[in-house]
């Protein structure tokens, strides 16, 4: 009994110590800046920036490899917060705010191929093989990935109409109010 308890204790301490040392020596260095930048991005991993998900885009931003205007769905607001965080002046002139959009499927052209469904990161498209595909407007975040893969050009991007449920008060312009 004592031998068993003793040997298990020795093994536990030895292995625990080994793991502790390994954690110190082989620690993965995490850039705190990356984490902060990641929190500023939308987090829907739509891939429009060309990176695999928001985490890698944040990593590229932290290294200075990507411009602050990297995130198309984030638009002007995200570009501005990123520029502020990184202390760079963003060239927002080319980054005109298009306003939110959603995808719309022309029923006459849909052939039920399911390619758009596989692209959608928010499950906003209802449909199955050889069945009509429909976009749920409220779930769509306008990343336009389905728009690009549709083989029959049945998907078009529409502006979200201004209704009582979509309207919101415009944010104050920072540059003008602080003078």
């Amino acid at each position: 009994m004592l031998v068993a308890v003793g040997s298990l204790t020795v093994m536990g301490v030895a292995l625990g110590g080994l793991l502790g040392i390994a954690a110190r020596l082989l620690a993965v260095e995490e850039n705190p800046l990356e984490e902060e930048l990641k929190a500023m991005l939308p987090g829907s991993n739509c891939g429009q920036c060309g990176y695999v998900g928001c985490a890698l885009a944040a990593a590229a931003l932290a290294k200075g490899e990507a411009p602050v205007t990297v995130c198309p769905p984030g638009g002007r607001a995200v570009a501005e917060t990123l520029a502020k965080k990184l202390g760079v002046t963003a060239d927002l002139s080319a980054h005109e705010d298009k306003g939110p959009e959603y995808a719309f499927i022309e029923e006459d052209l849909c052939i039920g191929c399911t390619r758009c469904i596989k692209e959608c990161t928010v499950d906003a498209i209802v449909g199955a093989t050889k069945q009509m595909h429909v976009v749920i407007n409220e779930a769509c975040h306008g990343c336009a990935k389905c728009f690009k893969v549709c083989p029959t050009d049945a998907i078009k991007m529409c502006k979200v109409p201004l209704t009582l449920s979509t309207w919101h008060w415009a944010k104050p312009e920072v540059g003008q109010t602080l003078h």
Partner: protein, 101 residues
Amino acid sequence: MADPIAVDVVYARPEQQVLLRVKLPRGGTLLQAIQASGVLQKFPEIDLARCKVGIFGKLVKIDSPLREHDRVEIYRPLIADPKEVRRQRAALGKAMKKGGE
């Protein structure tokens, strides 16, 4: 065993989409979910004998059991004939090739 599962029932038309949450006893089927959601009363045009149903983009038989957080989808048939669309596209491609040469 008795704890209920929550599932969504969705029916979508281009101008209007509805997503209804229903609670079912464990082992409930797609048909039970659709009937419990009341979507058939809202959209009388749904004919379950003709419409196919599925879960998250996969066609599933209407009497299959559901799991927690499944999204039951009621589909509508295609309007376009995929073969016809393909033929038209092929013809268009040929015409463009000829024009390019």
